[in-house]
């Protein structure tokens, strides 16, 4: 039965969003990890999502590529590091400071991370709801006629 694909689709959404939550956690945990070298300081990480199209289905149905396949899913294509410049701070007392007495703090924008976290958790909840609803409907279909 094709409806079981919904669990794959929603499951891929759950997995992608949990990767996103993981990067948020990593970014927030490292928000204050200073370094004396701007090149080695922690950089904010963000996942890039990509839709996975079922190419076989698209071909069989002869539809427009990407449109013909009814089922597809989402996956994390990769993790990109933010290219924003790390902020420089004069802190000669810090043991990690460089020769000029400067330390570099990561380019993590805490506010951005918090909103990203809320967005990810809402998307996760959405996928959970999709799974729950599909499960209930499938169970109701199994009970058909009784």
């Amino acid at each position: 039965m094709s409806s079981f694909k919904i669990f794959d689709i929603a499951g891929s959404g759950l997995s992608a969003q949990s990767v996103r939550l993981n990067t948020v956690a990593s970014n927030l945990a490292n928000a204050d990890s200073v370094s004396g070298d701007p090149n080695t300081v922690y950089k904010a990480r963000h996942p890039v999502f990509e839709a996975v199209k079922n190419a076989v289905a698209a071909q069989t149905l002869g539809g427009t590529p990407g449109l013909g396949a009814a089922d597809s899913a989402v996956r994390v294509r990769g993790i990109v590091e933010s290219t924003a410049a790390p902020s420089e701070r004069y802190e000669p007392g810090n043991p990690l400071a460089n020769a000029d007495g400067n330390v570099y703090s990561p380019n993590v924008n805490v506010i951005e991370e918090m909103t990203d976290m809320i967005s990810a958790s809402r998307a996760y909840q959405n996928n959970v709801e999709v799974m729950n609803t599909s499960k209930e409907l499938l169970l109701a279909t199994l009970k058909l006629g009784s």
Partner: protein, 136 residues
């Protein structure tokens, strides 16, 4: 008079198939809510149901020689390629994604209720059949 179960169940059986396909497409939209350049899709129910009801709904067998049977293949899937359309976005977004989570949620809820309604119709028809069989 022999009873054809397909015609007895009426359009509900096909409607159930289309609705479960639509559920899949909407789940796909919700899973890709944060995917850059993903375009939200939906099924045009009227077209899909018309396709599902037509005799050539099942995928035809490929014939390579004259005389071969090109009968309808017994495929589990349903051809909805003609009914699958891209959604017209309400507002543009910077990353090219056209999924509106609220719209998709509403559509999913709508589809769920319709699915349940179809199940109720099917269930009552099957109960009628059972009454006829047991004769009580």
């Amino acid at each position: 008079m022999p009873l054809n179960l397909d015609t007895y169940l009426g359009v509900s059986a096909q409607a159930l198939k289309v609705q479960s396909q639509r559920m899949e497409v909407l789940a796909d939209n919700l899973a890709n809510v944060d995917t850059p350049n993903y375009k939200a899709r939906d099924i045009d129910f009227k077209t899909a149901l018309a396709q599902a009801g037509s005799p050539d709904a099942a995928l035809p067998l490929t014939t390579t020689m004259p005389g071969q049977v090109g009968g309808a293949a017994a495929s589990g899937g349903l051809d909805i390629s003609g009914a699958l359309k891209y959604r017209v976005p309400l507002a543009p977004s910077l990353d090219g994604n056209t999924v509106d989570a609220q719209m998709e949620q509403a559509a999913f809820a709508d589809n769920t209720v319709r699915y349940q309604a179809t199940l109720t119709f099917l269930s009552s028809r099957l109960k009628n059949l059972l009454t006829a069989i047991t004769g009580q």
